[in-house]
Symmetry: C3
Subunit: 472 residues, 3 copies
């Protein structure tokens, strides 16, 4: 059973803790990274091993920290740092590229501009894929550095008040980070730039999959006017008692609302947005002057481009260069556990308590029916066309009269308002409610976003009075 790390959720809480204690040991061997003239000792644990770094987007710290980690482990890297000089420039699919590079390397780190690219790569690779950032989807190894930084500062995640600010829509680091925060029981406070709010499907997953409760606005706005949403994870007894239901206006412990433990800042992603944002949050000592920020750990995945004042660098609350410095030991730990530790293999997907029950997968040929609604998803990349099947998890939520589907690659949602039978070429509008849940999906079932899509594909509408075509 081959292990990939395409999402922070591919790792259990226990595995994350395991990576951290492993990284502690590597950190000690490297010496304090912020002390000048350290002597970094290397190991031989990955001697003869090769890591491929395939970067289809610019990077300095992610690629170089992976390559450094590999060297410090005694191994070596092969690198393709520029899509313009790789076979992608000749029109090669990612699927073929990773199949070929699997023959060269013992693991592959992939960065790609498309959401879900790492998952597609994992389907075709014969060695572990590590997601080094895929579009706006996830950046799990950054999140490992983020969590490790807080752990090194003796901040326990449970009940921690964490503000995430900036581009919550386009920042892949935020998405991996908030899932991890929810899983470890932190309170998540959102401070997005206008129009850059957390994507709906991430919000939905936080609430439905990771048991977060959105706190009513009036319960925190006096203290945190800039925060536009606050989630707590009420699966801990004391939290459940505090906020039994979001509908109830019960008093909330002020501790939750006031003290900010972590301020996580992200840059404006100019490569993903056409226009700059005038109200983009800028964090500086003036912003942090209130007493609730007196012990706040300021984090930033870097690079920064103006949203985090350089004058803060000497402030004891500024931890972002520590955070960057942990990139090497964390990645050493991850590579070492993936390449050499048999205990990393065969573990269930996040068994730490956050896994939902397995959902049925709807798996159809390319464009046979509904397609992922996220146009930046890897399934829409013309180079991958021949390698893609449209795969979705069947979800419970969604509007009445529709079936909610979650793309297996980019994990965004689409609601199917019509369904049909591929063999009979007939369809029905799902006005009578979603498809009955079943672990068996009929072989000929096909979903459509709506009636128009079904008609365009040449399907014939059946009378709505008849039974659902998938059960016909």
């Amino acid at each position: 059973m081959l292990r990939h790390v395409t999402s922070i959720n591919d790792l259990t809480n226990d595995e994350i803790e395991r990576i951290f204690s492993h990284a502690d040991a590597f950190l000690a061997s490297l010496g304090d990274p912020l002390v000048r003239h350290r002597i970094a000792t290397s190991t031989d644990k990955a001697r003869g091993r090769i890591l491929a770094t395939l970067f289809h987007e610019p990077s300095t710290r992610t690629r170089l920290s992976f390559e450094t980690a590999m060297i410090r482990l005694g191994g070596q890297s092969i690198s393709s740092a520029d899509p313009a000089t790789s076979s992608a420039a000749k029109g090669e699919s990612l699927a073929d590229t990773v199949r070929v590079v699997s023959n060269y390397a013992d693991a592959i780190v992939l960065r790609h501009p498309r959401d879900g690219a790492a998952r597609l790569a994992a389907e075709y690779a014969s060695v572990p894929i590590i997601n080094g950032g895929d579009g706006a989807h996830e950046h799990p190894t950054q999140t490992l550095c983020d969590l490790f930084t807080l752990r090194r500062e003796n901040k326990r995640l449970r009940n921690l008040n964490v503000v995430v600010s900036g581009d919550l829509r386009g920042s892949r680091t935020i998405h991996s980070f908030v899932y991890a925060l929810a899983r470890f029981g932190a309170n998540i406070m959102l401070m997005p730039a206008k129009g850059m709010e957390l994507p709906a499907h991430v919000d939905e997953r936080l609430r439905e999959e990771f048991n977060c409760r959105a706190v009513p606005r009036q319960m925190y706005e006096d203290d945190n006017a800039a925060i536009n949403a606050l989630y707590v994870t009420p699966d801990m007894p004391h939290q459940l008692s505090l906020i039994p239901s979001v509908e109830v206006d019960a008093p909330v412990d002020l501790k939750i609302r006031k003290k900010i433990d972590v301020m996580y800042v992200t840059r404006f992603q100019k490569e993903r947005w056409a226009e700059a944002s005038a109200d983009y949050p800028r964090i500086d000592s003036n912003f942090l002057r209130e007493s609730k920020y007196s012990d706040t750990a300021v984090l930033h995945p870097l690079p920064r481009v103006g949203e985090l004042d350089v004058a803060l660098d000497g402030d004891s609350r500024a931890l972002y260069f520590h955070q960057a410095s942990y990139g090497v030991p964390i990645r050493m730990a991850l590579i070492d556990l993936l390449l050499t530790d048999p205990a990393m293999q065969g573990l269930d997907r996040y068994s730490g308590g956050f896994a939902t029950s397995p959902r049925p997968m709807y798996n159809r040929p390319y464009a046979a029916g509904v397609r992922c609604a996220n146009l930046n998803c890897i399934v829409h990349d013309p180079l991958e066309r021949d390698y893609i099947r449209d795969k979705f998890w069947l979800m419970d939520g969604g509007p009445a009269g529709a079936q909610r589907l979650r793309c297996v690659y980019c994990e965004s949602n689409v609601d199917a308002h019509a369904a049909g039978n591929m063999k009979k070429r007939e369809f029905t509008v799902l006005s009578v409610g979603p498809t009955e849940r079943s672990s068996e999906i009929p072989a000929h079932l096909v979903f459509f976003r709506d009636r128009d899509e079904a008609l365009q594909q040449g399907y014939v509408e059946k009378s709505p009075r008849e039974r659902h075509p998938s059960h016909a």
Copy 2:
């Protein structure tokens, strides 16, 4: 005596066999490349050795497989993967670059957009040059992988029926491959896209240098309508008896015409052609449904861009990912033999039976007379202008009243219809037949493509009744 591999013909048949048995051993040490979780063991054979990979064109698999091979041998690589960030961007010639890099590395792999670039590099390097693909000329290490794949499948090359399809003009892999097929006695069947037929000089070399016979069309068209040319190598006794002469319409053993042992597919080279080709051959299971394809090994050097159906990937006839996987052991074997094996040194150029007798070389200063007719040849690169002499082998063929010349770099042909004396600045149109063959080329002899070229260069025409100026 320094050994370079600029063409598959720089290696004898015996040397190629030697490389293959060496690669067998490396392959065993690497483990099966298509099995997950293999453990690749490394050697120390190239410890302390450095390979430079200078890539002036995009590449993933060639560069990374060479670098992987070097790591697996215990050595290391230095790499320039992008001409835009190399000294070529400052206007440095390839000749100077390889002279300098020869000081750093123990061998150099070169990829370059110009035909014949590897030969020019070999003239200036003080370490072995390995051609990683030069324009549309050759790609010898790909051919080694191709042949090795067939050998691993227990396919003996002698008498094998091999179809090569697609862009036979622009594909450097095809050119190296067909020379090797001819040398090992395979039958070569051409299935080009329209306008992408095998270049005339490659066809000529197959027939004149490698003793291939073109089989008359009516002898195979019933069975292979898509094939536009078929060569057999009648230097083997049983073949000679089958096809004593192409002029004779004798019956040909159907075995030659029917069973296809290998289908070698190549991609449309968008970087070499302005327009797409509508009739470009596309190989899929429908194409391969006839019984003559039932045991066909399907090869492709990759990347593919649509000409080879992805749905074939699971077909047992599809060997192209095996082919890609052999890149590392084959390149390990080649590097090891070039860097460390004294027996690789001093061997004559393809002594395996295919060498023609040494031809006289015509070697003149830049643009002193006739120039290579191939405008993509390295001799026409403005950056190399000061480093180039116009060098040709004097050939036997060509039209009456002309001297055929083969460019030493790109190996394409040009016919000289006039010749003169550089000292007297006189010339004659070669209306009375080609220059008498001689191993001594007169010091002042100069050739011209035609009368106009000679006049433009300020030469005075002598009366055609006089003797040839070179012998005056």
Copy 3:
């Protein structure tokens, strides 16, 4: 105390000699780099060490020779060869980049298009910065190769007649080279292309800091019409006696004027100049036909683009490929001494006799007053804006009624004609002579280029009769 090599003047003469004897040993272990089939042996001195090569401009030989040196020392490199694929493409400052990469590598080689970039990097790095070329400022490791080449040819630098030709303005290699020549007592003869004369501040430093004397034109023009300036370093007794004063038309030993020991040629820097230069010096055998060139060592840092005739390559005077070949042992020696030799640490800045007395540093917030006059200086890079303070050394020279300032980063000069008090927001035009020299610079002193600049910044002019505002 962390050592950086941002300028050739960061190394003492003794240290340079130390590097050379160290390089001799490495050269012996590498074998003769110009002999084919050498066996290069590697050491383990840098085992486990990592060099980062951050190249924001194209390079082949500098980057690859550093990486080769690291491999030959037993260490490894991580490389960012293309700004378009690095975090700079996302808008990250150099300051942040080197802070982060300091966590990965044990030393950083930086190439950057901005003058003074290496000095800025050194302010932020926690590991040694080696300047691999910063704009038109300096290229100290090239100069080490240049001097080492002459030393290997048994040319003692003292009294050597060295012509430097070509683009003396834009060539960073020239600037480092002439400082070193002056420090070691060579005579420097300038042969610039028109408009590409040595920058005024380099000329000034040669004369004022390195004690060079400009020789009057009439004393050498009969023999060297092409030379437009000649410097000797009269701090050696025999030279002092020869040229007691530049104002005196005393006869000069013809030896100084006639025999040319070294001809150092540089290319036209098309990346720094908009237009080509028609009179750019071209060195060929015709140029070198005079007897004074009979033993001239011809050097060139390469790449060349036409200014140095390829036909010279076989001439025994041509040493430029030797020069290139010394790149590896010189850089091995420098890296080894920087990374492992404690004696390299804590040495004073060029204690070898050329250091001037410490000058007071004027250090003000970004754009608080006068700014560097060199628009290509790193202080004008928009990405670095938040990381820059305007820092200058207070110099003695300059026109009457002005204070000369030397930029700490790019080392060019600017003359301040006005000065004020930042607190009182008042200023005075410096019509009464430069500020009194003092090792204490008043905390509120601010300089302006001129009266207009002060007024634009909202300062109020005080009566010129009053005392200098900085002393008020």
